[in-house]
Symmetry: C2
Subunit: 315 residues, 2 copies
């Protein structure tokens, strides 16, 4: 693997003609925004380019593909965008791919094996890199490219709220805004709440419990209740971040009932509390501030176990 | 009243020496951010300047006043910032004030009677005007000034999410970010939720009603319930944006019970629906997509009036 400069990335993209662009599993606004923006840009340069997506593009992001049609060609140059690790490359995405030519990413921990690699951990979103490439490739922005870049930047920064946001993030957003319907993009990604999501939030607000003197908040969802209320899996997105947002809460625990008498536990922490160490007790793992594990038992048993464990852990 | 240019505003600020800066009732991030940023800037220029606030600065915005101390002097020049109408000037703010010398605002409907007036409806926040004044006044940004400007810009745009955001909004944010703790500002304004706010959201999620085939959502708060649950006025901020967020909702109506058998109504709309035209029926006003009015009556009467009016209006 060779680390290259952004100029070299641009040169490689100019040099080749038939691209397959790989995105990660559970595709989000940044990988899809990057994938489609890059594909539209390469097509504008007279090249062929397709985006490989694991499963369907989420409904709310389908505006990214409004003018996209799969092209029929045999790819000769494979580029991954916003993919941090080989395990995040889904089987369908990797169909027919035996190696990756170029990796473009912003995750500091990037472990993709590619011939050439450009990783910029200062970029709040991989889409910031794609925007810079547009300048280097002399591609004029259009609605599709700008929508992809704006989507990547805004979704990876929680609409310019998260601490990864930089001055550059705002500058790039300002540069692409005139070309795309960023109001619609913000609306679908940050404003609108489905009736199902509303019901879900009502439910977990009603069942939220506190322990450890308010330093831990716990919420749960039960399969049957979700079914009855028409709450889908899509609507669960972002659920785990709810308890941690409450004032004074250092550890937020979300318990989702799954088939077979198991609860999927998601733990989010503030103030440098090590969620991974907490979940390790139950055989789980993940990032220091965001981890998960699975625990068998009925609601009251698992709730009691989590409450007691959180109190001991935070003591 | 004379409409003047921003250069003339800067000239007037340079010319005078003892300022009283007026902010609006229910002070928010923009009027307070503007008020304190302008006061700190004028003090930097060797002048005296105080900010007049109706009641207390909300707890979460108290970082704006960390380095602020009231100065003891008799003001000779009165400036209102971000105040759209005379009715929004509280009694305590107007103590000793018989006329307003200069009005700086961004509300298209501004109706303040001032000797000189600068209203820029293209500014997403009045703080955008204050930022431009810093350049014209040659005031070097510092933490206090930048925090005020960033707070005004970010809170009036819902962290760069609302449709009033412009390229300039992002550019100005990028310009002030290096000088202030914008991560803390985002955290307190957009992430953390007090226990009182949690209770408030539970309550309005539980009492939310829909009409006009789901195109209108209504919520309400009652004084006694809020008192019983320990929900403060500070926590009401952002409440009015909740009903509009629900999928399919074009008009969100928030009814807050006030003293004297009156409900303060806030209306927020999507899809270009004219909230001002709706509120005009009840003697209210404001921005096209965000307006308010007051209606007398008990809960059921006002709820029925609003429901019926919304159904007729949206038909």
């Amino acid at each position: 693997m060779k680390k290259i400069t952004l100029d070299q990335v641009a040169a490689l993209l100019k040099e080749h003609d038939r691209f397959k662009i790989l995105t990660h599993t559970y595709p989000d606004g940044d990988c899809l925004g990057c994938g489609y923006a890059l594909a539209f840009a390469l097509r504008k340069l007279g090249k062929q380019a397709n985006v490989a997506v694991d499963g369907a593009v989420p409904a709310k992001l389908q505006y990214l593909t409004e003018h996209y049609e799969e092209q029929d060609f045999v790819p000769s140059y494979i580029v991954s965008v916003d993919v941090a690790a080989p395990t995040l490359l889904g089987e369908s995405v990797m169909a027919g791919v035996d190696h990756i030519d170029l990796c473009i990413d912003h995750h500091r921990t990037n472990s993709i094996e590619a011939d050439n690699s450009y990783v910029d951990p200062e970029a709040a979103a991989a889409a910031e890199i794609i925007y810079q490439l547009m300048l280097l490739l002399d591609v004029e922005l259009d609605e599709d490219i700008a929508a992809g870049i704006y989507t990547g930047i805004s979704t990876d920064t929680g609409c310019f709220c998260y601490s990864n946001t930089t001055e550059r993030t705002h500058q790039f957003a300002a540069a692409v805004m005139p070309y795309c319907d960023w109001r619609m993009i913000n609306y679908v990604n940050f404003v609108v709440k489905t009736r199902g999501k509303l019901k879900l939030e009502r439910m977990v607000y009603d069942n939220m419990r506190f322990c450890a003197d308010g330093a831990c908040a716990l919420i749960y969802t039960m399969t049957k209740t979700c079914e009855r209320l028409g709450i889908g899996d899509d609507e669960m997105e972002g659920l785990a971040s709810i308890p941690r947002q409450i004032e004074g809460v250092k550890m937020g625990i979300t318990m989702r009932e799954k088939a077979g008498g198991v609860f999927k536990i998601s733990v989010r922490t503030n103030d440098g509390i090590d969620a991974a160490a907490f979940c390790k007790q139950f055989g789980g793992g993940g990032h220091p501030a965001a981890v998960g594990c699975s625990v068998e038992g009925d609601l009251e048993t698992v709730m009691e176990l989590m409450t007691k464990s959180a109190e001991e852990f935070l003591a």
